[in-house]
Every structure is written in C-alpha cells, then in structure tokens.
C-alpha cells in the first residue's frame, strides 16, 4: 500500500531535509507563477467547462426536440467533452469551487435513483426554481450521465421518455448556469471580500488568507499531490480493491479512464502553467524548478506523461477491468506510476519549493 511507500520515503526525506551537506538555495519568490496559475490555468479551465456545459445543454435541447439515435449520440459526446475540463480542474479543488458548493452542485455522487424516479413520476413542472429546490444527488453531471447512457451503457433513443427528456433539459441548463457562476467566481468579489483571484495572487505579508507567497504555492502543490493521491488511492483503489463496480466514477458513460487521465493532465497544466485545450500558456512551477534543478523538472514532466500513458493502458471500460484478472497488472502499474509522481512531488519538489 502507498502508506508503506510513504513511510519508507519519509526516512529518506528526513536525511535530505536536514542533512548537513544540504545547500539551502533561494526561497521561492516567483509571483508570476502564482498569477499565471490563476489567470492561465484555473480560470481558463473553468471557462472551458462553462462553454462545454452550455454546449451540452444545447445538445440535450436538440435531443429533446428530435429524439433520434444521432442526437442521442451527439448529446453523449457533448457530455464526454464537458467532462474533460471538469476533470482537468481537479488539481485545484480549492477556492470557490469548494467553499461556494460548486463541486457538489456539479458532481455529486451517488445518483439518488429513488428521488430521480419519484420526481420523474410526479406531476411537477420542471421550472428553474423547482430544479433549484432539489437535492444535488438527483441532478448534476452524474444524473445527466445516467439518463443519457443508462445503467448498462445501452440507452437507446426510443427508451427516453418525455419526462426524462424534460427533466434532462432542465438539469443540463442548471449545470450550465452553475458552471458559468464557477467560471466567474475567481474574479468576482465574494460578499464583502475581494475576488478570490486577487486574494490568492497577492499572497504575502498582510494577506489574512495567504500570509506568505509560499502559502499560495503550497496550496498549488497540495492540489497537485491531492489529486494524484485521490486517483491512485481513491478513484482506482476503492473500486479495484473491493472489486465493486458501484464505486466506479463515471460508470454509466464508461468514461472513468478518460476521467483519470484528465486528472493527471490537470497536474500537468498546473506544473506547466497553461491549458493546451484553452490555448493558454504562462509561467509554471516547471520554469522555476528547471532553473534550480533541471533534472527534477525533467523527471516530473516524464513521470506525468508516464502516468497518463499507464492509465490509458488499462483496458476499458474500467468497471469491467476491476473484475478481469488479465487487466490487474495494468491497473496496478497505473497506480504505481501515479504514486511515483506523487512521491517525487512530495519528496523532491515540495522541499525544494518550500525550503
């Protein structure tokens, strides 16, 4: 288990961190990296999410208007496309996405099928205020996924009822609205406070949320490390260790492997300081680390690529792989690759950046 690995490495890190021959170099002072992280990584990712969820809403409208196999396939593709920026945002699950409740509003799991069935069977009109009053576990990404793909990834257009289509239109619209709010949330003043972006990029003395620049960088690194840990030891390990398909993320769309890869791309974007899909690039942690320890930067980049590749080598769908012994080596290899990256970030990058 990863805890054993971590404990073994801890002993090493003790030696490294306090070894007598350690040279203490310059402390991290590159504010542009924090600024670009906000402006070139986080905000563009959320803007892309808002665009793609708006496109999903349009596709669902089209599907409801004309419920054909082609329109169902298009809506399913729009769902998968919207999933990409969401998963690419999971290396930064802090800030408004968390404290304003956007994460549960968008991505609650599990789907409450009882409540969904009941609301579909009711006579209620699916107005925006009615939708807003519902539990988040009967709407959001995964409820739309369930309605579009069905339980066994076998949904056909003729199975979609008028009530399902009506409901899906309403919750897809709400999803798009929530994503729009999320996209604006880093740059909009919050209550009596400055916009979160301005608090974050101005980390330093006198800033009550981030009293030093290194606190902001620690937040960036915690986010990268946290999602590595989550993918290897949560998203993959929980269903795999229990061989339980009900624990699999994005199980209706069979999209788990793409989700996991995009989580690692989120780490990559945070490292490099840009979002290729959004066409942004800026100064990343990679630049600062390369100037101090070029080998380490090269290693991080290579380990990110190796992790993405190893996840891609798991035979899909993931929900089947967890019960297919032939797939176990690939699953475990992917976990190991992600853990290796996580360990490099924890044991090499964090001490260097926060020294």
């Amino acid at each position: 288990m990863y805890t054993r690995i971590a404990a073994a490495l801890l002993a090493t890190s003790l030696l490294f961190a306090c070894g007598e021959d350690e040279e203490v170099g310059a402390a991290f002072d590159d504010r542009q990296i924090v600024v670009d992280y906000a402006d070139k990584v986080v905000i563009p990712t959320y803007e892309l999410l808002a665009d793609r969820l708006a496109a999903l809403s349009t596709s669902v409208e089209t599907l409801a208007g004309e419920t054909t196999p082609a329109n169902l396939a298009a809506a399913q593709q729009a769902w998968i496309a919207a999933r990409v920026p969401w998963e690419q945002s999971e290396a930064f699950l802090f800030g408004p996405v968390d404290f304003n409740g956007f994460d549960p509003a968008l991505d609650s799991w599990p789907v409450s099928k009882n409540d969904l069935d009941a609301v579909l069977a009711s006579g209620s009109e699916f107005t925006p205020s009615f939708i807003a009053s519902l539990q988040e576990t009967q709407k959001g990404f995964h409820t739309v996924e369930y309605l579009l793909f069905g339980d066994n990834h076998a949904k056909s257009a003729d199975q979609l009822t008028a009530r399902e289509l009506d409901y899906m239109k309403a919750i897809a619209r709400e999803l798009a609205d929530v994503a729009g709010e999320l996209a604006a949330s880093w740059t909009t003043p919050n209550g009596g406070q400055r916009a979160y972006r301005d608090i974050f990029v101005n980390a330093g003395a006198g800033n009550s949320a981030y009293p030093s620049l290194s606190a902001a960088v620690q937040e960036i690194l915690d986010g990268m490390i946290g999602i590595c840990d989550e993918v290897a030891n949560g998203k993959i390990a929980d269903p795999y260790d229990a061989h339980d398909t009900t624990l699999v993320e994005s199980q209706f769309a069979w999209n788990s492997i793409a989700d996991f890869q995009d989580n690692l791309r989120s780490v990559q974007n945070a490292w490099l300081g840009g979002v290729p899909l959004a066409g942004t690039s800026g100064r990343g942690l990679s630049d600062w680390v390369a100037s101090v320890d070029a080998d380490l930067d090269a290693r991080v980049k290579a380990e990110i690529e190796a992790a993405i590749e190893a996840i891609g080598a798991i035979p899909g769908p993931f929900r089947d792989a967890i019960n297919d012994p032939a797939a176990y080596p690939a699953i475990e290899n992917a976990q190991q690759r992600i853990r290796k990256l996580q360990t490099t970030l924890e044991e090499q990058v964090v001490p260097l950046v926060l020294r």
Binding site: A7, S112, N114, S212, D229, E230, T343, E346
Partner: protein
C-alpha cells in the same frame, strides 16, 4: 474530492520549513499546538491532514474515516450511502464542516443544505435523557428544515441579521450583527409560545482527539464554579448524558459542552443533522442505516486530524499581542496549555497541547445569551471555544464567521461580543488604542 492524504507530504513540508527557518535566523520552533499531532501547513487544507504520528494501520483507519466523512447520503434504499432523512439539515458531514473547518452561517444554502441549524427545547417538561433539554413536539431538539423528495421539512427557516453599532474608546466605530430567525412550521406543528431556540454553526473538527484525552481531573481542577478565588471568572463543568454508559459524564464537545465523547457527537450528528440511524441512535425497531464500523471510522477520523502549527510567531507584533492576550485576562478561560492523559488512540495520549480552552462553561452575559439551558449550562453560559488554528478559519473558508451562531464576521467582532465573565477583558480590548488592538489580532491570526 480530497479523501486521501499522504502524511509524507506534510512531514516533508514540516521538516523543510523548520530546517529552513533554523538555517535562516536560528529561531526556536513555535510551540507545537497539537504536540506530536502538529503539522506545518497554512493553506486551505490546513485542518484536513492526518496526525503525522499515526501508525500505518491507524492511518488506514483515518483514511477510511475520511471517506465516510465526505460521503453524501441519499434516499434509502440505495446501493451506495442510503439512509438520508427523511428530514435532515445536510447530506454529508463535509457539507457543514467545510474542509474540516467551520460551516457558513446560512440556511437553505443550495448544495450545503442548511449548515446553520436551530436547536430547540421547552423550558419545562419531560427531558429526552436525564438532565437534558426538553424536546418540542414535532421538532424534537433540533429543527430539520430539509427533506428528501416527497417528504415535508419540519419548518421553513428564514435567517436575517440585525445590525447594531458601537465604538471603541478611541472613537473608531464598529458594527455588530445578531441573527433574527423566522420559523414557519410545517402543517400540523404548533410553535409553542415558550419555545427556546438557539442557532448553531458547525465547528471545526481537527484536534478533537486531544481534547477528548485531557483528563477529567485536570479540567475539574480548572473549574471554579463559585469563583472562590474572586477573580470574576467561574468556569463550570457541564455534566451531560453519556448514552453508552447510561450515566452523566463531563461534557467536552458542542458549543455548550453538552456531549461527553466524540463517538456520541458523531452518532448524534448522523442522527439529527443527516437523519441517518446508527447503533448508538437506532430506528424505533432497532435497525440502523450505518454500521458501527462507519461510526467508529468517523470518530477515529475526527480524533486524529492534525492541528496546524502557528505561523509568524517570531513577529514582534504577534509577540506583543500574545502578551496583551495574557495581560487582559483572555488566557484565564482560553487556557493556553493543557496536558493530555491516557487515551485509546495512542497518537493523542500524553501530549502537551496549546488549545486555548478550558472546555468549561462561562457566563458571557446577556448579549450572547440564547436563553436555552442545556444540561447544567444556563442560557447565558458557553463553553470556552478553542482558539488553535483560528487564524486559518478564513483561509479554509473565506465566509467563515465566529461564535456559536456565526454572528461575528471577524475575530474583532467575536471579542466585542464577549460580556459577563469576559466583560473586563472585552472592555480592555475596546479601550486599547488601535495599534494595541492590531497586535492582539495579529496574535490571534498567528494561531
């Protein structure tokens, strides 16, 4: 979501920070707020790390508890996390204890449910457990203002704030706000004329195992119920009902110390806040929706969350503020240092900790009083709130507020609400010059 955390990150961070600082200015380490459970982190994750001194097996248990703490419950029966409601306040522990910290002072807050909940009782009648508050027909001891699809919440709650103004002795004005609740009960529930109610926000959940491990004798020795020493500070223990023992026991948790153990606190939150039954608080027929293991995992999780270390403790303004904190008497209730004793969780046993609380009840005067007694706590008594990590409250949750009902929007406002036994300390703060006040606040922000 961040259900998994590696402790090695933290330790690496801790070591890097402490070695770096020693190399730079040779300063001593800050007092370790949580003893060996202390971590170095001043980010929005600061309340969410496992204690670094857990064994591998304990860390696994902690991470299991982390998953349970984040689990969103849904309408039963369901293959995953069934058991929500039928009436409740929120659907997951984490929705109110955001990032293991405070909850926002808000009702009907979208995906959060109602992280501010309203406790209710009657002034007289038959209590639910010996010595406890008297339930209100239709509500019980807490209004559950959310419901699963097809069920009716017990009430609709509206929360407004009333502002009042005051001024420091130097003429600087300030504004304080108090909550105004409007309760519209569901059909068939009568609002009694003598209803006692008290709004509550969710407190942070880190460091709690350490507080559970402080020996009872030590806390009782701090108590001075009749103010024998004549310093104007009493300090009374609350003896609450221990469901497991079926007997009264020293209360430590909750805004009025009305719960004796973290096991009972956790089971109570499942039952009352989420409508999820457990072996401690089962359904009428004895069945329950989560097994004992889940309850134990969550209990272990809150017992073993690390305490963040202080920051900027060498800053002269912080040091001056700390001296003022002591000089004006804050530390008489917000006791700086306690020693823990034996505990079933080894990581929290026999630690020197700096929680800034005595876990005792103090009369804070009419301004803060809720008029709702809870076991031995009167309507104007409150448990001394621990102050460790309080400087991170708004890093973890920018809209975090302070005091039992979240009325204080800043630490300054929280101090200004103190009265009763703390009137002297409050007045000392109110009459300081601005620079001195800033120093005191800088100290609090360093915690």
């Amino acid at each position: 979501m961040s259900a998994h955390r590696s402790p090695s990150l933290l330790l690496a961070g801790l070591l890097a920070a402490s070695c770096g600082e020693a190399a730079e200015d040779g300063a001593a380490s800050p007092p370790l707020a949580g003893g060996d459970t202390t971590i170095q982190n001043r980010t929005s994750n600061a309340y969410s790390f496992p204690a670094p001194n857990l064994s591998e097996e304990e860390l696994d248990r902690h991470l299991d508890g982390d998953v349970a703490f984040e689990a969103t419950f849904v309408t039963p029966p369901a293959p995953v996390n069934g058991g929500l409601g039928p009436r409740f306040n929120s659907s997951a522990c984490i929705r109110c204890h955001i990032r293991d910290g405070r909850g926002p002072a808000a009702v009907d807050a979208g995906a959060f449910g109602s992280p501010l909940l309203v406790r209710v009782s009657l002034p007289a009648g038959e209590s639910a457990v010996p010595g406890g508050p008297v339930p209100v027909p239709g509500f019980g001891l807490q209004i559950q203002d959310q419901a699963i699809w097809g069920e009716v919440p017990e009430a609709k709650i509206r929360l407004d704030w009333i502002e009042e103004t005051g001024a420091y002795a130097d003429g600087t004005p300030y504004a304080l706000r108090r909550p105004l609740l409007e309760i519209e009960p569901a059909e068939g529930i009568e609002l009694p004329g003598d209803l006692l109610l008290s709004p509550r926000i969710a407190p942070p959940v880190f460091g709690l195992g350490l507080l559970e491990a402080v020996p009872e004798e030590l806390l009782l020795a701090l108590a001075d119920p009749d103010d024998v020493d004549g310093d104007g500070i009493s300090g009374r223990p609350n003896f609450a009902w221990d469901v497991t023992r079926g007997a009264p026991r020293l209360g430590r948790f909750g805004w009025k110390s009305n719960t004796p153990t973290l096991l009972q606190q956790s089971a109570g939150a499942y039952a009352d806040d989420m409508g999820v039954s457990s072996p401690l608080f089962p359904e009428a027929d004895g069945s329950h929706e989560i097994p004992r293991e889940t309850l134990d995992a969550v209990t272990f999780y809150v017992q073993t969350l690390a305490v963040p270390a202080r920051t900027a403790w060498t800053d002269p303004a912080v040091a001056a503020g700390e001296a003022r904190f002591r000089a004006i008497g804050c530390a008489r209730c917000h006791v700086e240092t306690l020693e823990t004793g034996a505990h079933e969780v080894a990581a929290v046993a026999f630690q020197t900790i700096h929680p800034y609380t005595d876990l005792l009840l103090h009369d804070l005067g009419p301004g803060l009083a809720d008029g709702r007694p809870d076991f031995q706590a009167t309507g104007s008594e409150w448990r001394t709130a621990p102050l460790w990590g309080i400087g991170l409250a708004q890093t973890v949750l920018p809209q975090a507020t302070f005091l039992h009902d979240g009325r204080a929007r800043s630490l300054e406002e929280a101090i200004l609400w103190h009265g009763g036994e703390a009137e002297g300390a409050k007045e000392a703060f109110r009459t300081m010059d601005r620079a001195a006040r800033e120093e005191l606040l800088a100290f609090l922000r360093s915690l």
